[in-house]
């Protein structure tokens, strides 16, 4: 039986806003701690170089993207490079559930920011499990 390939979980890591950092940290929490056996990440900037080795990492692979803002750069780039996008998340959607929260800055998160990151990571991990269980 073929082993299931790991789900690629990719963040925008946007530089200008705290939401980019939150997306990045949620992905790291997911692939390093919560579901390291089922998920992995790869550098978004590398994927879009179009290098053969980079493309091979993503073409037809199950992907989940998490973007900081509505520009959805991670989702767009992963799709353009041939990733099979199974789910797209947006930090801003989660922030709507935390009105008035102060998550920190694009450099550093507050405790409140970290708590929201963990919440996002749990959602990412649940989606990874769902994708793997359905063999999607």
């Amino acid at each position: 039986m073929l082993a299931k390939s790991k789900v690629k979980v990719m963040a925008c890591s946007g530089m200008g806003k705290v939401y980019g950092l939150m997306a990045r940290e949620a992905v790291l929490q997911t692939v390093q701690n919560l579901c390291s056996e089922q998920a992995e990440t790869t550098c978004l900037a590398y994927i879009v170089t179009g290098d053969d080795a980079a493309t091979a990492k993503i073409v037809d692979q199950p992907c989940i993207t998490i973007d900081g803002c509505p520009a959805m750069c991670s989702a767009k780039s992963a799709a353009e490079m041939g990733g099979d996008i199974k789910a797209k998340f947006k930090v801003l959607d989660v922030m709507r559930l935390h009105k008035g929260a102060k998550p920190g800055t694009a450099t550093e998160l507050t405790e409140e920011g970290w708590a929201i990151v963990d919440e996002i990571a749990a959602k990412l991990c649940a989606e990874v499990a769902q994708i793997q269980s359905e063999g999607r």
């Binding site: 946007g14 530089m15 940290e25 790291l28 170089t49 520009a71 991670s74 450099t107």
Partner: protein
């Protein structure tokens, strides 16, 4: 009075290696502490995804790419869409390939050793920054 020159600092922010985290933090340091009034950080994913403001800025103003490793993704993207960068700083040249290509680091686990790496990289970016400034008075 001469207009104060802005310089774009483009970080690769690689999600899959330590160099990416260090490049991101060194770039944020330029923006937050070192040259806050003159640094413009360009959001690389937005830039790649077609951000016109970012591309125009990088065409018209000097840029420094800060890349975590020798794949040079930030430099290559900037040169593909906007033109030659004025300088490129490789984190791997400063902290070594092995460390730079090691596992990505969450800022939750940042140590004094990592902070020292960020300082070193930011110092090199600052040196490049000031050289560019000294040659360009817009």
């Amino acid at each position: 009075m001469a207009e104060e020159l802005k310089i774009g600092v483009v970080s690769c922010s690689g999600e899959d290696c330590l160099g990416g985290t260090i490049s991101r933090l060194a770039t944020r340091k330029m923006l937050d502490e070192v040259r806050p009034d003159q640094t413009v950080t360009i959001c690389l994913p937005l830039y790649i995804a077609g951000g016109q403001e970012e591309r125009m800025f990088a065409k018209e103003y000097p840029t420094i790419a800060v890349d975590g490793c020798s794949k040079a993704c930030a430099k290559r993207a900037t040169e593909k869409y906007s033109g030659k960068v004025n300088s490129v700083v490789f984190v791997s040249d400063i902290i070594g390939d092995e460390l730079a290509e090691g596992p990505a680091l969450s800022t939750r686990n940042l140590t004094a050793e990592h902070a020292a790496m960020v300082e070193k990289v930011a110092a090199v970016v600052t040196q490049q920054f000031d050289e560019i400034l000294s040659k360009n008075v817009k």
